[in-house]
Amino acid sequence: MLNEPKDLVGNVLYILLARQFEDDRLLSEVKDWRMTVVLDTDYYPVTLTFADGITIERGAVPNPTIILGTTFDTIVSIAAEEMSPVRGLINRKLRIRGLLKHPRAAFRFYRLIVRAMGV
């Protein structure tokens, strides 16, 4: 369902998502998703490919469904509940590209990641 990446940002995503997938319902829902998301951080980009599960890889694939631009510091602030994701979006600390073209994919990923961060 979820590969174990060997890089730092990928591993963070793995840890966050693996906890969520203890919930079978969410698991079977996510299995049906088909999209690619690039998390473009100030450290380096990571691609999440949703296809019968999630593959997390270092680097950015060309033409992803959506790109979420942010900094690692912002990820940390959200995880520590020092900043809400909504505030992140308003302040442009979180930037979603592809939102207009793929609103459903953007919404799905946003919901998944917010849930994974426990905020």
Binding site: E4, K6, D7, L8, V9, N11, V12, I15, L16, D42, Y43, Y44, R58, T71, F72, D73, I75, V76, S77, A79, A80, E81, E82, M117, G118
Partner: protein, 478 residues
């Protein structure tokens, strides 16, 4: 009478062993240092037995090696000469006294970190000792004798600084006490203002006698504690931040490691690499206080320094403990609740080694940069480990290697460790828990009169040369 018979008479036949299996177990450790079996293993349980063993060994001129669990990561209990007897002190495992007022504990050699922690938590919950990353089953007393480092070392220094005094059986068989405990029972409050004879035993790797009791400083357990993580880029900014933060004196402890070790703790499988764009280092900083406000203010002091550094590189990130656990996994819990199983991340293979050194702060950054290049050249996992020591009077520097013990890898580990030691020595660093090969390199750099003094002290205490002979390379220069 042969030494075996003499020892059996002292401790009973069931506590003397010379079977092939026992000799094998005591012939090696996890390091790359060459193995050599002892001739016998003996397990005393009392001071009197230790004394009689030493007296018997003087009669037969038998080498003795004090041993508790053999986890020094320096090959220090591997016999350096043929025919040695391992004196395994595990059975001497009493916590004799905890003095609440003067805040010390009096322990025997076999008391382990796990044992002491539990005992204090159960019986003296307002006091704490200090704990290493080492396995919980290792010796508190041996660790202090070896001048290692634990989780209060950023504040209080190397472990020998925790020693108030000790009781030892000299190589010639007399029992001595040093420190204020020499004036009577229940009085182990300090090692001063007497001549500081703890130095006759600390750092000597068992060459100057067998320590049978040790008084160690305890500290009040602070009601409020907090940990923060710090991810940082580049050797220069990393060392600058660590040094600046440590100099503020807000820290109880600091551990700075290469990012691959951070990832190992987070569960990344071996071999663990450092990728482009990842932070080079991760720090874990610990503060404590009497109130939540005191702790928060200490964190603010750290935050201010990090924010200043972020003006040059905004990728340095301070992470609260809650954030760290959420993002990097619950495995981090045991890292701050030592002694723990945390050491197991380093036990991926059968081999584990390092040359740990203490170094002048001014060379810390350079030695880290150049050391990293050496480790990268050999293609090993990058696992630097640094600690600010004693309020930043000095630093700890080492690279850790976890490795499979095949011939080729062992050879490369030896070469890499030797190159790292040469580098460290060239910057005036001094290795701790020094294996013999490293001690010989160190001797070449030390003032010959210092080595002469060491040898003179050792000879005076041990005229028959029976105590852990060959260590420190002292015999070689005759």
């Amino acid at each position: 009478m042969e030494i075996k018979q003499r020892l059996m008479k002292i401790v009973g036949p069931e506590r003397v062993a010379d079977g092939a299996a026992e000799k094998h177990v005591y012939s090696y450790d996890m390091t790359e240092n060459p193995s050599l079996p002892p001739s016998l293993v003996v397990m005393p349980q009392t001071l009197e037995e230790v004394q009689q063993i030493v007296q018997a060994a003087n009669t037969t001129k038998t080498p003795l090696i004090p041993f508790v669990t053999g986890q020094s990561v320096g090959g220090l209990t591997i016999p350096a000469v043929e025919g040695a007897v391992i004196v395994d002190l595990k059975r001497m495992n009493r916590i004799i006294e905890v003095d609440e007022e003067a805040m010390y504990v009096l322990v025997e050699p076999g008391v382990t970190f796990g044992h002491l922690k539990k005992y204090l938590d159960d019986h003296h919950p307002t006091l704490r000792y200090t704990y290493p990353l080492a396995p919980p089953y290792t010796s508190v007393l041996a660790n202090a004798l070896l001048e290692g480092l634990c989780d209060l070392s950023t504040r209080h220094g190397a472990m020998a600084d925790f020693i108030n005094g000790l009781e030892a059986v000299l190589p010639t068989g007399e029992v001595v006490r040093v420190g204020t405990g020499a004036s009577g029972e229940g009085n182990w409050f300090s090692r001063y203002p007497l001549p500081d004879l703890v130095g006759l035993f600390a750092g000597w790797q068992g060459m100057t006698g067998i320590v049978t009791k040790m008084a160690l400083q305890l500290w009040p357990k602070m009601p409020f504690n907090r940990h923060v993580g710090l991810l940082c880029f580049g050797e220069e900014p990393t060392i600058r931040m660590l040094t600046r933060i440590a100099r503020t004196q807000v820290l109880d402890d600091s551990v700075c490691v290469s990012t691959p070790l951070v990832k190992m703790v987070s569960g990344v499988a071996a071999p663990v690499e450092l990728y482009d764009g990842e932070p080079d280092y991760g720090m874990l900083l610990t503060v404590s206080g009497n109130t939540e406000t005191e702790v928060s203010e200490k964190i603010n002091v750290i935050r201010r320094i990090v924010n200043e550094e972020r003006e040059t590189d905004s990728r340095h990130v301070l992470i609260s403990w809650e954030g760290l656990m959420k993002l990097m996994g619950d495995q981090w819990g045991p890292f701050v609740d030592l002694p723990s199983e945390m050491y197991k991340v380093l036990a991926e293979h059968d081999g584990l080694t390092w040359v740990g050194t203490y170094i002048h702060p001014k060379y810390w950054k350079t030695v880290l940069e150049e050391g990293r290049a050496i480790v990268e050249k050999y293609g090993f996992e990058l696992i630097a480990n640094l600690k600010a020591m004693k309020g930043m009077h000095f630093g700890e520097f080492k690279f850790i290697f976890r490795f499979p013990k095949d011939d080729d890898t062992v050879k490369r580990v030896r070469e890499c460790n030797a190159e790292l030691l040469d580098l460290a020595l060239s910057y005036g660093a001094i290795p701790y828990k020094t294996p013999v090969w490293a001690a010989k390199k160190l001797q070449e750099r030390l003032d010959p009169n210092f080595v002469m003094l060491m040898r003179r002290v050792q000879r005076a205490l041990d005229p028959n040369g029976i105590m852990n002979p060959g260590r420190w390379g002292l015999d070689e220069r005759d």
